[in-house]
Symmetry: T
Subunit: 72 residues, 12 copies
């Protein structure tokens, strides 16, 4: 294993189902444009309320991924 | 859409089932006394332990709602 | 001057004009239902963007007021 | 014991005597308008100085109480 | 009830299933070596990603327990 | 409305005129490269001083935007 | 004086009398199982309320002590 | 350019006009007693309310300046 | 009342007696060199332990005072 | 000098040698894909331990760079 | 790899040489009493000054290790 | 040993060599104008980048010193 560098991005997933579903949505969307995802950390959990009920769970993540030579 | 003002209240839901259930309980209790709930943000997640097992999930929320002319 | 007690409320003002206007809106709305406002502190400054431009300045305040015997 | 919901309020007590007296004043004032107080947490301790001496100890609390069906 | 003292420990549970399962794992492991667990507080929620999917939910707790005379 | 994902970027606007102008500059520069800007949050307000006077107001924002299928 | 290593523990004292008494209780309980206590720092001050009055002052400390060769 | 050292001071400006005016007042007052002011950072924004209206905007800054050989 | 500027200093009082005594010591020492003290805020409460007992209560304050024309 | 806009990215450098080497690695990797780097700020310092010894120093930075017309 | 649980301890290393040496001292002391150290995070960096020079670098770490069946 | 009072100042050292050198520069500059320096705490670590390389390490300290009767 050699010295390496990771980049971090912030991303918010929004789901009608659950907090964990919001997180999975955010990670799978990040996986479309970035290779080598490594870890995430939850920064904030919020929700959107309509008609006096929770409509969306919104979870903001910091996601880390390995920078290889073809990534900017 | 016109300029508007929101008020925020803090409320803790407590549930034997799950974190999301504790949040839903808190929001539905707030809905009994306040109109026009708009969003929430999770401030703190705690739990009560008895007989070496989790008995209650306790989630504290900040909940925002629109102030209309009949609300104090 | 005698010993006294203050209560704090959180309130978000929203304005199309400026941050200071959002704060003034929040304070003047609070003044409708609470007597003896004393001070405020800015907790958070956010904005809503539509059509790639800022539509609303949203400032969240903590506002303190004196509790007299007729206030709950 | 059943699932339950707590509300939190912020309140500042001010006393010429001591920090603990400022806290007791705040709690006893809250007890006049809210039933079922359960706990408090100290958020901030400040003081007012006049003639180069401490005149008031000011302690800000977050106070939690049980929401029953008659409370808003 | 007499005056008492509590100790706090930090512990991270790691689960392939869910956040709540990670918390339960951490609490049940703590229960093996410490008596009289009383409460927990969530400090941090992270996750480990492999093959572009979440493999582990990792939740760090602060756990409080009563110190009796046989505990160090 | 369907489940969706937002990305957040951090950006600092610098203006000789005012804090709000620094924020507008940052948002309009972000609008050149990113579609569907949705909200911002102020993270930090600083200033640069020369010849004992404020030369630049520098405001750092976190800006959120919708991730669509053509965005990375 | 040589290079040395300190360990930190978190502990909550609970007293019916005062904040300082809660701190002294926590320190004297820690002194039963750990040698060479060196300093403490207050992390959190809370209280338990019953019958609308403060029953317990609860102060959480981080306590530092020297690690010698016989300590784990 | 050589290695150098900066000192930081905290100062609160108070203005009846605006937040930016409170900041400018604080910086110009600091400029009377300290040479070589370099930057500031906003730490806190508060206001004083009288007769249910904002009377003073109060902004607390951390201000940095170069330490030269004649400065203490 | 005119627009005005306040300066803040940080100071730690250390007392063998109590937390409030440590605060009073810090304020009275500040009063020797600075005119027009106005308020303080507690930043940190620590203690020094010797022979397994608290020897010193150490409280760090931020103290605000009015800047008049003769003060630097 | 004209008004300008900066963007910030977060990046983690990992080195077997030292904290400063981890920072330099992160900055030099950022320099491959971004022009006009201007400053960094350390957000977090961690380390990876294997066989009871530190194997990697991991430092997370926020790095600021000037946005010119060809940068997204 | 199966689900697992980690425990965290806080420890301060003190060295006359450098920050990194203080960290290494803390980790090697922890390694004497705990198996399976996995990572650390820097919480605080302080120093002790005597005769107007730095005598000790003091770095406080949170250290994580795997809990196996023989560890308490 | 008698009760005593400490004052704290904030100072930023800037060095082309290393973080520790920046800290030593700040402490030795403080030692020119203040007697009885006692401890420091690192508040912030930043760096200045030119030509895509680190030119200056900038470390901000809070430094504590004993207030004797001749010090203001």
């Amino acid at each position: 294993m050699t010295d390496s560098v990771y980049k971090l991005m912030e991303i918010t997933g929004s789901s009608q189902t659950s907090m964990e579903d919001a997180i999975r949505l955010a990670v799978s969307r990040a996986a479309k444009t970035v290779h080598n995802l490594r870890w995430f950390e939850v920064l904030e959990t919020r929700g959107h309320i309509e008609d006096q009920q929770i409509q969306y769970w919104q979870v903001t993540l910091k996601v880390g991924f390995t920078l290889d030579d073809t990534t900017s």
